[in-house]
Symmetry: C2
Subunit: 347 residues, 2 copies
DNA sequence: CTGAAAGCGCTTACAG
DNA sequence: CTGAAAGCGCTTACAG
């Protein structure tokens, strides 16, 4: 049984006894068309199960009503799970797109790929949302190239001085400062920091800046021996970092890991080493992943508002596409106190 | 500064001194075209930063190289998080699509919506992947309608007798049987089941069938008072179910929750009631969400291979689109023993 | 308010 | 191996 071919606007025009242009207008609800004609056309369209061919429409109008989300991953972590934080962002971005009447194309990119503009150039999407672009310094050229090509895009991440693009990020400095102050308030004086502090990972760097600011405000010196570089955000890296820190021998009574995954890995390493959290060491993270509340002990952390973030990313991008100017935006971070910091078990 | 307009195949043709048809063929690597011509055209294309306009191409070829993933959610749980299991499926589906050279459109649908065929009809996607369609009985008509319209789609879920469509699912009966046998092997004799057992939730029903089969095989009678209907898979529902079960007064020494989220909610309710897991009650779930291993105690559960699932869904769909026949496929389930079942703490 | 016509940028028979 | 031409299904000036 051959299927009936899809109905086109010409089929509707024929049955309605009007021209195809009128059909097009009527379906779009143009005020130019007579109300009766419009109703008639729409009735026939419904009856024929008609849908506008988006390819034809996009070709003609030169925009597709679609946004593309580019998720970057480290080529190393090929088959492991996607960072749960990005997954949660993906959820909120998808919802925000739907609310704004746009479709969302999702794509995983290898960091190494030549990803600039692929989607927008091919006209499959009107704009791009960038998530997890890896090393910021390396990405910077590509971002600049995107800007130069007038690609419409927004980036999730730290707001960096002199950045070429528009981004939405959480207030990493404030979050880092708040959580560090909390640890200091609990009497911790030697707090380790797990995470890169360079411009390669501006989010981590900003969290570290908050960490430093909190120490300064409390009049506590930071021991450089307590910082350990970690560029990737995985449990494995957190575990290894903690082991290295322990091996270093410099005593510590607190750990601020720049992400929850790092913190959870660190907690495992502490447990392996027979150190009790939070009695001997307070541990805090950043992100508030779903699993943070399930960790043992439950992880004190900094929550990023992914719902607001998704909404803002989509909103900003749509404005850019419409030609409006938008500024990078910082979302507030909120600390979430659980057991791992020892708030209820201060020394 | 006005941007240079995007280059088209005509621009390339002009510079290469050939016709536009030849450009089109050359870019596609057609064997019809002279190798030198091809190289020349491709060089110019690269230099001009040319990309094929996918809208034009899709319009002409009548397919888009795009697949659509439809994620259904309960309208009740509007702003809560997406089920982490689906998120993980989404990750593997995205990867599988990329590997097959297809783009993925992601869409959240309200269960109530009139979702049949929207995407394929509009020619934005060549086929559909359905995830979490809610009540199977209610969805069935729509699935049949999709089949009737010759929409290409595959569904993630239970394989149901006489179903109109192609689906990929895990072997819920086998998984349910294996994990229940494990509990019985640990000496548990009164195992509660949290989950719907009707055709409305065929996955849960199949897990329950496995539960019943394991009891039968072990010669243990099932007390109907130990089953509690739960249609939605959320912590809240699991929590409430457990409370209701406790209130019922029928004693139990084990709980098989039809999903990890239900199991985690149930464990919280048990803790609230002062019942110790696994010493007094063994608890097991289904799915093996990332958070399962972080629960306290770590949750024994049944793992679904989301990677294989994503691959298979995409593979099956692509075959359907190509006109091949494919059969519904069941993936093996694997039990993952952790602390919550009391494997190392048998009475 | 409506229609005839052009054109978005491709792919692909058709003819050479 | 190459080119001229048709056509995919729309939207939108343009003319009435």
């Amino acid at each position: 049984m051959r299927p009936k071919a899809r109905a086109t606007s010409f089929d509707i025009a024929f049955r309605a006894g009007v021209s195809q242009s009128t059909v097009s207008r009527a379906l779009r609800g143009s005020p130019l068309v007579n109300l009766d004609t419009q109703r008639k056309v729409q009735a026939i369209a419904r009856q024929l199960n008609y849908t506008v061919d988006k390819n034809a429409s996009a070709l003609r109008r030169q925009h597709s009503g679609t946004l593309a989300l580019l998720l970057f991953e480290d080529p190393t972590s090929d088959d492991s799970l996607i960072n749960p934080f990005f997954l949660s962002m993906l959820g909120s971005i998808t919802r925000a797109c739907a609310r704004q009447g746009h479709d969302l194309l999702v794509s995983f990119q290898q960091l190494s790929n030549d990803w600039h503009a692929e989607y927008q150039e091919s006209h499959k999407a009107d704009g791009l949302i960038l998530l997890g672009y890896g090393d910021y310094v390396e990405a910077c050229d590509k971002l600049a190239a995107l800007v130069a090509q007038q690609t419409h895009f927004v980036r999730w991440g730290a707001i960096v001085d002199g950045q070429p693009d528009v981004s939405v990020g959480c207030d990493n400095v404030q979050g880092g400062q708040a959580i560090t102050s909390h640890l200091l308030g609990l009497g911790r004086r030697r707090i380790a920091f797990i995470g890169d502090t360079t411009e390669h990972r501006p989010e981590f760097r900003d969290r570290h800046r908050g960490y430093a600011a909190a120490h300064k405000a409390a009049g506590v010196d930071v021991d450089p021996a307590l910082q350990f570089d970690a560029a990737d955000s995985t449990e494995q890296v957190g575990h290894a970092a903690m082991q290295a820190l322990i091996a270093r021998g410099a005593p510590f009574d607190g750990v601020f890991a720049a992400s929850d995954l790092l913190a959870i890995g660190a907690m495992h390493a502490l447990a392996d080493a027979g150190l009790r959290v939070p009695e001997q060491v307070s541990v805090v993270g950043f992100d508030d992943l779903p699993m943070a509340s399930f960790a043992t002990p439950a992880l004190t952390t900094v929550q990023q508002d992914t719902k607001a973030a998704g909404e803002m990313l989509v909103g900003h991008l749509l404005k850019r596409i419409a030609g409006e100017d938008v500024a990078s935006t910082m979302l507030p971070a909120r600390i979430v106190i659980r057991r791992s910091c020892g708030a209820r078990a201060t020394p």
